[in-house]
C-alpha cells in the first residue's frame, strides 16, 4: 500500500502553472521511466492532460521523495509551487486514482475523455516497464471502477454541451436521426459545430441558406449539403425536420404565420427549430403551434444547467461506489501480500500433517513419548524440506515485479483464498480444488 500521488490540476493550479508541469506526449515515456527508476520508487506512471498532471508511484518502503523527483524532472524548486501541489498517500492515493478515472475529479464531472487519457498514460508506462505489480493492479482496478460508475450511475448519460443537448432533443422528437434533414440558416461558427454533431448522429441531408450565396455554397460543401438561395428560404425550409438558425438579422425571420404554412405543407409532421442567434431568429410564439418545437439559446443553456445539476446528484452516488471499491481493493492487496501468504501456507500444511497423524494413530497403536516425538519430527521434517524452495521462491518473488501473479498462483494451488477469509481451519484431504 505504498502508493503516492503528487500533482497539479484545474482545481489547484491556474493554467500557467499547469503548462509549466505539462509533459508533451513525445517526452512522456522518458519521464515515466525516470519516475520509475527514481531512488526509492518501485513503479510509476504519469498522467499529463490539459487539466491535470499527476505522478503516481509506489515506493519500496513507504517513503518516496516525490518532490525531489519533481525537482529533478522539471529543474524547479518545488517549494515555489507548494501552494499548487496536492499529494496523497496510500488509501487516499488509491481513492484519488479511482476518482480521476471515474471522472469525478474532472472539470465537467462525468466527461468521458479522462478515462481514455489515464488508459493512454498506463499504456505508455507499461511499454517502458514502469508499472508491473501493485500499481498495475491499482490501475486495472481503477478502470473497472470507472466502468462500474458509468453503468451503475447516470453520471455520464446526460448531455452537457449546447450541441449535444440539441441532438438529444432532436432524438426525443424524431427518435432516430437517420434520414432526417437539417436546414441551416446562416453559415456561422456555431452552426457549423452543431451541424457536425448532427451529422455524427446520422442526419442525412443538409441544406444551407445564407445571405451571401457563395458562403452558403462553401459551407454546404463541407457537409456534402445543398446550398439554397436565401430568397427561396420560406418555400424550402419545410423540407427539413430540423432548422438551425443563427443569422445576424435584427428582426425575427420565422414567425407564427410561417409556422402554420410549414405545418400544413408538411401535413403536420413535427418540426424542430433551434435558434442559436442573438437577437433571436425565431419568434417564441411559434412554440405554441402543435407540432413545432422551438428552443432558443437560453432554453438550450437551461437544459445544460439542469443536466449539470443532475450530474452533481449522481456524483454522490458515484462517490459511494468509489469508497466501497477502495475498501475492496485494499482488502485484496492485503491478501496478496507475501507474508500472510507464507503464514497461511504453513498453517495449511500443518493442519494437513496433524490430520494425517490423527488418522493413522489407530493403526500405529500405543506410542511411547519418544516414538511420538519421532513421528512428529519425521513428518515436520518432510514438510519443511519440501516447503523450503517454494517459500524461498515466494520471498524472492515478492521483490520482483510479477509478484502478485506468483503469490496469486500459490494461493490458488493450495486453495488459500477461502482460508484467508474465514479463519476456520478445515481438516481433511488437501486435494480439494481451488476455490472461487
Amino acid at each position: 500500500m505504498n502508493f503516492f500521488v503528487i500533482g497539479v490540476n484545474h482545481k489547484t493550479a491556474p493554467v500557467e502553472v499547469r503548462e509549466r508541469f505539462a509533459i508533451p506526449e513525445s517526452r512522456l515515456p522518458e519521464a515515466t521511466k525516470m519516475l520509475a527508476t527514481y531512488p526509492g520508487i518501485e513503479e510509476g506512471m504519469i498522467v499529463s492532460t490539459c487539466n491535470r498532471v499527476e505522478m503516481v508511484a509506489r515506493s519500496v518502503n513507504g517513503n518516496a521523495d516525490m518532490r525531489g523527483f519533481l525537482k529533478q524532472l522539471y529543474n524547479i524548486d518545488p517549494a515555489e509551487y507548494e501552494q499548487y501541489l496536492y499529494e496523497y498517500r496510500s488509501t487516499e492515493a488509491v481513492r484519488h486514482m479511482f476518482r480521476v478515472a471515474s471522472s469525478l475529479d474532472s472539470m465537467v464531472v462525468g466527461e468521458p475523455q479522462i478515462l481514455g487519457q489515464v488508459k493512454e498514460a498506463y499504456a505508455t508506462a507499461r511499454a517502458v516497464g514502469a508499472v508491473s505489480s501493485q500499481l498495475d493492479a491499482l490501475l486495472t482496478r481503477a478502470f473497472a471502477v470507472a466502468k462500474r460508475v458509468r453503468t451503475d450511475t447516470s453520471i455520464a448519460s446526460s448531455s452537457v454541451s449546447i450541441a449535444s443537448v440539441a441532438v438529444e432533443l432532436a432524438k426525443k422528437i424524431f427518435g432516430s436521426l437517420q434520414g432526417r434533414s437539417v436546414y441551416i440558416v446562416g453559415a456561422g461558427k456555431m452552426c457549423e459545430l452543431a451541424a457536425r454533431h448532427f451529422v455524427a448522429h446520422g442526419v442525412g441531408k443538409i441544406y444551407v441558406a445564407n445571405r451571401t450565396y457563395e458562403r452558403g455554397v462553401a459551407f454546404a460543401k463541407k457537409f456534402n449539403g445543398e446550398a439554397v438561395p436565401i430568397e427561396h428560404l420560406y418555400e424550402t425550409v419545410d423540407k427539413a425536420d430540423i432548422v438551425l438558425s443563427s443569422t445576424g438579422a435584427p428582426v425575427t425571420i420565422f414567425r407564427k404565420e410561417h409556422g402554420e404554412k410549414f405545418l400544413s405543407r408538411r401535413k403536420n409532421r413535427p418540426m424542430f427549430f433551434l435558434d442559436i442567434a442573438v437577437p433571436r431568429d425565431v419568434d417564441a410564439k411559434m412554440n405554441d403551434l402543435d407540432g413545432i418545437f422551438v428552443y432558443d439559446i437560453d432554453d438550450l443553456q437551461q437544459v445544460v444547467q439542469s443536466h449539470m445539476s443532475d450530474r452533481k446528484e449522481e456524483a454522490a452516488h458515484a462517490e459511494a461506489i468509489v469508497n466501497a471499491e477502495v475498501e475492496k481493493f485494499e482488502e485484496r492487496l492485503r491478501t496478496l501480500d507475501v507474508v500472510p501468504t507464507i503464514v497461511s501456507l504453513q498453517e495449511h500444511l500443518e493442519t494437513v500433517r496433524q490430520a494425517e497423524i490423527d488418522r493413522l494413530r489407530g493403526r500405529l497403536g500405543e506410542l511411547s513419548p519418544e516414538q511420538e516425538m519421532a513421528v512428529d519430527a519425521l513428518t515436520k521434517g518432510i514438510i519443511n524440506k519440501i516447503m523450503h524452495t517454494p517459500i524461498t521462491t515466494l520471498k524472492t518473488a515478492a521483490k520482483e515485479p510479477e509478484s502478485t501473479t506468483v503469490i496469486e498462483l500459490v494461493r490458488r494451488i493450495f486453495n488459500l483464498h477461502e482460508k484467508a477469509k474465514d479463519e476456520t481451519v478445515k481438516t481433511g484431504s488437501p486435494q480439494s480444488g481451488p476455490g472461487k
Binding site: L169, K171, K172, I173, F174, G175, S264, R266, K267, N268, R269, P270, N287, D290, G291, F293, Y295, D299, Q302, V303, S306
Partner: protein, 270 residues
Amino acid sequence: MPLLWLRLAVAFYGLGLVYSLLLLSKRGDVLARVAGPAVGLGMIFQLVSLVEFAVLEGKITASVHHSESLLAFVIMVVFMIFFVRYRTSSPGIFVFPLVFFLTFASATGPQGFALSSPLLKNSWTIIHIVLIFTGYAGLFLSFGASLLYLIQERSLKSKQPASFAGRLPALQTIDEIGYRALLLGFPFMTFGLIAGSVLAENKYGSMFFADPKVLLSIIMWLVYMVLLYTRWNSGWRGRKAAYLAAFAFIAAVGAWAANYFSRLHRFNIS
C-alpha cells in the same frame, strides 16, 4: 378450474398495475424488468383459463363479466405485438390498469345475467366477438398512445424535459404506435361489425339497427374512420387526435355498457 387460472392471472396483472403506477415515480426502472415477465405469465394463465372454458362449454363467453376477461386478453395481445415491435412498455401505463381491472372484475365479480342463447355457440358469433374485441384493443392502445404523445409533447414544449417524460419513447415513435394501432384495429372492427350485421339480419331482420349497442358501435366506427381519415389526409396527431380517440373510446365504453340495456346482445332470447 378456469376461475383459478384467471385468479392467478389477476395476481400477475397486479404487478403490471403496480408498475404502471410507479412509473410516475422514480423507481420504475427496477419494476420494468419484473413487469414484463409478470404480465406475460398473466397472459398465459388467462389463455389457459379461456381455452379451458371454451372447451368445457363450447362457447367463448357466458356473461358480460366473463367476456371482460376475453377483452383483457385481446388487449394484452395487441399490446404485446407493439411491445415486441417497438421495445417500449410505456403504453402499459394505460393498458395494465385496464387489463387488471377487466380481469379482476371477471375473476371476482358477480356473474350478472347469464348469456344463455344458443347463438353464442354459433361460430359466426364467436368470430364477431373476437374481431370486435381486437378492434376495441387497437382503439384503446391508440388512445393510450395519444395520451403519451400529449405528455411527451408538453414536456418538450415546456423546455424542461422532465425525468418521467425522459423515459417515454421519442415523440415520433409514440405517434407511430398510435397510428399503427389504429390501422391494425380498423379492419377488425369493420369486419366484426359486418359479421354482426349479417348475423343479426339473419336472425332478427333489419330491426336490429334500433338496438342501442348497435347504434353506439356504429358511432364508434364512424369516429374511428374520421380518426384514420384526418390522420391520413392532414396528419392530425397530438391534441386533435387525442380528442378524437377519446371520443371514440367513450363511444366504445358506451357500446360495451349497452349490453346491460340492449335486448339484442343479452343473448337470452332464443
